[in-house]
Amino acid sequence: MTFSDLARFVRSRKGTVLSVALHVLVLGWGLFSFSARSMVAPPEDLVPVDVISEDNTSKAKAGALSGKKEIAKLLADKIGEKKPTEDIVGKVDPKPVTETDAAPTPQPKPEKPVEKKPDPPKPIEKQPDTPKPVAEKKPDPPKPAPAEKPKPEEKKPDAFNPDQIANVLNKDKPKQPPKPQAEAAPPEPPKHKSERKFDAEKMASLINQKDPTRQAVTGTDLNANAALGSTRGMADSNVASWSGAFQTAVRRCFGFPYNGQDADLYEADIDIPMRPDGTVAGEPKIVAVRGPSRSVAMAMAENARRAIIQCQSYSYLPKNQYESWKLIQLVFGLKDLR
């Protein structure tokens, strides 16, 4: 095959040649780039692992499991909902009259709020915007609002519309008054409306409305978050190992100036009775000493004992695990001294 044959072939089958060439290119590139990558040892991930007791892990898990779903949203909700509730309290009085009339219509809607549950967070984000105008409004006329009763009534149909079209309409500020209603509905929509259904009488529904809304926001919601305790609850039991913190603290105070080459042979077992407040109850007890020279070992043990006393108090020890550090058993040594 001569060069001219080759050239003819190339010309006649440009597509094939191009395809082959590209394939070779791609494969070659892959071969080298991938092989080059494989040559580089991936840096090992050092994952800090805290050693936690059984109790700790189970508690930490319990908290995380029940809390995960709501933590992020609830924390945001809290800020938003607190203020609207005040509005509701102020404006509930005028509304119930109309709501009870409209009560039959909302019945189909309980299903919609369920679908829109993802939506509510968005209005909530905007609520930080809304409270301001509300705050502006309030000082002007706390009671003029009831004077404007007709408007909320007119807007009620609007209020239902934003529920349906949700985001787009909510962005308008004039619709602030209705929003509280929409909000009051989404957090606990089924409950309120189901209650309304059960209570046929207006008075009953009025009473029921007031109480649950207050409780929902100030009571259960807050408590729910507190119980999840993503910060506080975990912090208490997440002291990965109190022993580590304790070790570090005592280690800082302890320093026996012995410079013999047999330093690593010296050890002293010391028991420390502890009070629940993290102070040492009575004298730490020297249980045993080991080492080539008993006098040096005893001197080291006394030194360690003084270190324990001087290092007080150990108030960071987790109170709920008091049983585990009621009596702390330590062994002091001089291993790190050359």
Binding site: R252, M298, N303, A304, E323, S324, Q329, L334, K335, L337
Partner: protein, 454 residues
């Protein structure tokens, strides 16, 4: 959660979930779990210090027993404070921080006022000139945390020995706090050097380990070198260039008597006592070589220990007297060798770069100190008696002649800065952390530490 992390780490490093990797991961997780159990209330938590920490101690001025005793009382507490400061093992608290002025030696101190200083020990004392003219010194060592007396003692002596009482008290406190014997009640013999460098006058001198009470033993007419203390008596052996060859002499500090050790034809040098003080080991020059000989001081018989065509010198006994370390250039460069005290085969223990000389066996038996020369530097170092664990404590233009404190915790050596200046004495502890200059009236070299006086 934890076990997941535990198994994740090794798996990630393997890159693939191989069977072995998985097993290793599970194993690591299991180890992590067992470690978690060991952290529980069952196991003892281990605590090792992360730094070498001097013991904080307060030494308020001693209470004067009478109107004329204030100077001595102050002096004693000053000497103790100075001893502790120099040791590096204690950190005497600045008197300005003292909350209480001790005025009554017989009443316990107000411990509550001392507690904020976080001290481990509080020393109180009293110095009283008695009607018979003698000085009575008392001290108590308190543990302010417990509010208990740890140690207490009283001494009576001639007033001029008040410094020695201070040293003895220092040793007592040292023993109570550290658990081993101190070294403060000891002396140092050295070569005092005066005059210009080309006409240096060298005299034997004796002083307390802190540099006080200097006393000259020779007049400086003849050159003296390498003085060494007897471990059991008030005697010093040294080398002196007399009329003829340099000879090894024995000198009695109390009586001032001196005599030549042995009667050898050539030069004898680098003498040292055996631990029992009954023998002197030294080098004897024979032609171009020198070998080790030991002489029994009672029978005056001499025994040859080495017979090599090399220079064997600077012998030093182990504290039990069973072994010797010495310097020899039989392998080419001067190195340290160890052999039985009765002679025989010697084992080389120094293998570092450079040359090693002036080995000294610690009175504790754990280290051999040496001078190491190399790279234009002279260093002072220690190694274990098998040659391992070599540690250079200080290094510079010229450091030489280490000698151990009686408790084997501190080394004294001399350092020559070069130029027209002369050498000075320094101490350094065996960890190499605390180096201190020893005050001497003039230039000083060749120190040798005495055993404890009491």
């Amino acid at each position: 959660m934890i076990s997941k992390f535990g198994s994740k780490v090794p798996m990630q490093s393997n890159g693939a979930i191989s069977r072995r990797g998985f097993i290793a991961g599970a194993g690591a997780a299991a180890v992590g779990w067992s470690a978690a159990l060991a952290q529980g209330p069952q196991g003892r938590l281990r605590i090792d210090p992360n730094e070498f920490k001097p013991i904080p101690i307060a030494i308020p001025p001693f209470v004067p027993g009478g109107p004329g005793d204030a100077d001595v009382a102050n002096g004693i507490s000053q000497v103790i404070t100075n001893n502790f400061k120099r040791s590096g093992l204690f950190a005497p608290v600045d008197p300005a921080a003292f909350a209480e002025r001790i005025t009554n030696f017989d009443a316990p101190p107000q411990f509550a006022s001392w507690k904020p200083l976080n001290i481990d020990g509080l020393v109180t004392g009293r110095a009283t000139r008695q009607p018979d003219g003698r000085l009575k010194a008392e001290f108590r060592l308190w543990d302010p945390n417990k509010g208990q007396q740890v140690a207490g003692q009283q001494y009576v002596t001639a007033p001029e020995y008040w410094r020695r009482i201070a040293h003895i008290i220092s040793d007592q406190i040292y023993t109570a706090m550290i658990g081993e014997k101190g070294y403060f009640d000891s002396r140092v013999v050295f070569v005092d050097e005066t005059g210009p460098s080309d006409r240096r006058v060298k005299r034997l001198a004796l002083m307390d380990q802190d540099g006080a009470n200097v006393r000259y033993l020779t007049r400086g007419a003849d050159l003296v070198l390498t003085p060494r203390f007897s471990p059991s008596s008030q005697e010093i052996t040294y080398m002196e260039f007399g009329q003829g060859d340099p000879k090894v002499y024995l000198f009695n500090i109390e009586t001032g008597q001196r005599e030549i050790v042995g009667n050898f034809p050539g030069m004898s040098f680098s003498p040292r006592f055996s631990p029992d003080g009954q023998r002197i080991i030294m080098s004897l020059q024979q032609g171009g070589n020198s070998n080790l000989f030991v002489m029994d001081l009672r029978s005056r018989t001499t025994t040859r220990l080495t017979d090599t065509p090399a220079i064997d010198t600077s012998p030093s006994y182990s504290p039990d007297g069973s072994q010797l370390c010495f310097e020899s250039d039989r392998g080419g460069k001067p190195q340290i060798y160890v052999m039985s005290a009765s002679g025989g085969g010697a084992q080389r223990i120094s293998f570092g770069e450079g040359s090693y000389s002036t080995p000294v066996w610690s009175p504790r038996g754990d280290y051999i100190a040496f001078t190491k020369q190399g790279g234009g530097q002279f260093a002072i170092g220690i190694m274990k008696t098998d040659g391992s664990g070599e540690r250079i404590l200080t290094s510079g233009f010229h450091n030489e002649g280490p000698t151990f404190s009686p408790n084997g915790r501190v080394l004294m050596f001399f350092r020559d800065p070069g130029g027209t200046a002369g050498p000075s004495l320094y101490t350094i502890d065996v960890s190499g952390r605390f180096e201190q200059k020893v005050p001497t009236p003039g230039y000083a070299s060749d120190p040798a530490w005495s055993p404890l006086l009491s």
